[in-house]
Amino acid sequence: MSNVPNDLKYAKSHEWVRDEEDGTVFVGITEHAQELLGDLVFVELPEVGDTVDAGSECAVVESVKAASDVYSPVSGEVIAINEALADAPETVNQDAFGDGWLFQVKLSAPAELDDLLDADAYSEVMESEEH
């Protein structure tokens, strides 16, 4: 079973959100998601300044196997992207919850955070998918 840190929030579509408590969040994909994808070879990120909507496609992660959409778990403006991933997409495999973050969003609807899953609820989602 994959690692699921307690201090993060999760979307059913396997993204994580770290609340910086300054009106911004970092977003990435979970360790479970990168395991399912296999070795990543390309990451396409939104641009700084883009507006993203909760539940909408905003990035693509491509493994040797296939391309997979990443959905933004929150709404707001993209204020930073992880540019290091352009040359080192494998960072997402190695450190999905840390250096493998994808982008940072300035929240336009902070209440959306309450709709996300906590670590226990996300663990249940993972388990139900395995059966």
């Binding site: 296999g38 070795d39 070879v41 390309f42 491509e62 040797v64 196997k65 296939a66």
Partner: protein, 363 residues
């Protein structure tokens, strides 16, 4: 649940991620597909290919039968053990399957066909064989393991049955040797040196384990696909199928037109298009811009659609994305690939991309 090979439990013990493939539950990788790929290019890796089918063809007229059945000419096989790659065409000139056939002796040829096509292949063989009095016997009692890479033969040889070792050590490329129910061909699907080893099912787990103990990396279907793509080898069902002529799948070299009176199945259909300037060309692509080439992406020159990728992916040896593609005859130099609505430039190259560990195209 799909069919399982005799090695299924062993794969699970070795940490395989299992996926459905052609009706079988097969290992995709055992942790890292990239590491498995590099192991084959640099050292030695092994693949469970038990899902592919060995078919033995026997009878006094088996050579005549195969000269009628296959687009390549088994008359080229005169030394026992010699192998030949060929397409098996339908009357319309489409590809039923691509396969390797080995000449064992004048009354016995051995064929290895793809997993997903086995059923229709065997049905086709049985439909065509009675006229030649040939017996068609799929050998579901045999297992097959491919051991590939620059050190593959060295590592595999001591693990073969003693009676087969010397013959196997002396094999030239594209030859096979056999002893009892073991069979070793110096063939493969990776662009590297190596063996494909056929053995009784009961011996497969032991042989696999012994190879692992000798430092041979278990490899899944993922690495098998990136290796064959870099080697510029076609994948049946992606690069060609029953609706595609071998002339538009880069397989012209496998068609034996001479002697002109050899009437193989599909000949009249494809001969009508031999040398036809309207035939689409089958090319390699190297992506210049960012992204990953994938099957079915469309290709453009200016605003004109000129073709489609038939198999694409990331090439670990090149650290770039590459593809095989079918494009209009006049396209040369560069084209653009449509990736998620954006046009990205790619360069046309002549496969293979990699052979024997060396990059063979300009990057």
């Amino acid at each position: 649940m799909g069919n399982r090979t005799i090695l299924f439990d062993t794969h699970n013990q070795m940490g395989a991620r299992i996926v459905p493939f052609g009706g079988w539950d097969m290992p995709l990788h055992y942790g890292s597909q990239l590491e498995e790929h590099h192991a084959v290019r640099r050292d030695a890796g092994m693949f469970d290919v038990c899902h592919m089918t060995v078919v033995d063809l026997t009878g006094d007229r088996v050579r005549a039968f195969l000269r009628h059945l296959l687009a390549n000419d088994v008359e080229r096989l005169q030394q026992p053990g010699k192998a030949l790659y060929s397409c098996m065409l339908n009357e319309q000139g489409g590809v039923i399957d691509d396969l390797i056939v080995y000449f064992m002796n004048e009354t016995w040829f051995r064929m290895v066909v793809n997993a997903g096509t086995t059923e229709k292949d065997v049905a086709w063989l049985k439909q065509q064989s009675p006229a030649f009095g040939v017996t068609v016997k799929p050998r579901h009692d045999l297992a097959m393991i491919a051991v590939q890479g620059p050190h593959a033969r060295h590592k595999a040889l001591p693990l073969l049955p003693e009676g087969l070792r010397e013959a196997a050590a002396n094999l030239q490329p594209f030859f096979a040797a056999t002893a009892a129910d073991w069979f070793v061909g110096r063939t493969g699907y990776t662009g590297e040196d190596g063996f494909e080893v056929v053995m009784p099912e009961s011996e497969a787990v032991g042989f696999w384990q012994a190879l692992a103990d000798a430092g041979v990396q278990p490899c899944g279907l993922g690495a098998r696909d990136t290796l064959r793509l870099e080697a510029g080898m076609n994948l049946y069902g992606s690069d060609m199928d029953e609706t595609i002529s071998p002339l538009e799948a880069g397989l012209n070299w496998t068609i034996a037109w001479e002697p002109a009176d050899r009437d193989f199945i599909g000949r009249s259909a494809i001969e009508a298009h031999r040398g036809d300037p309207a035939n689409r060309q089958f090319v390699g692509l190297v992506l210049i811009g960012r992204g990953v080439l994938r099957d079915h992406q469309k290709l453009f020159v200016a605003d004109r659609e000129v073709g489609e990728i038939t198999s694409g992916g990331f090439a670990p040896t090149l650290e770039k994305s590459i593809a095989l593609a079918r494009v209009s005859a006049e396209v040369a130099g560069q084209c653009e690939v449509e990736i998620r609505g954006k046009r990205v430039p790619a360069r046309l190259v002549r496969p293979p991309f990699v052979r024997n560990g060396k990059i063979r195209v300009e990057l």
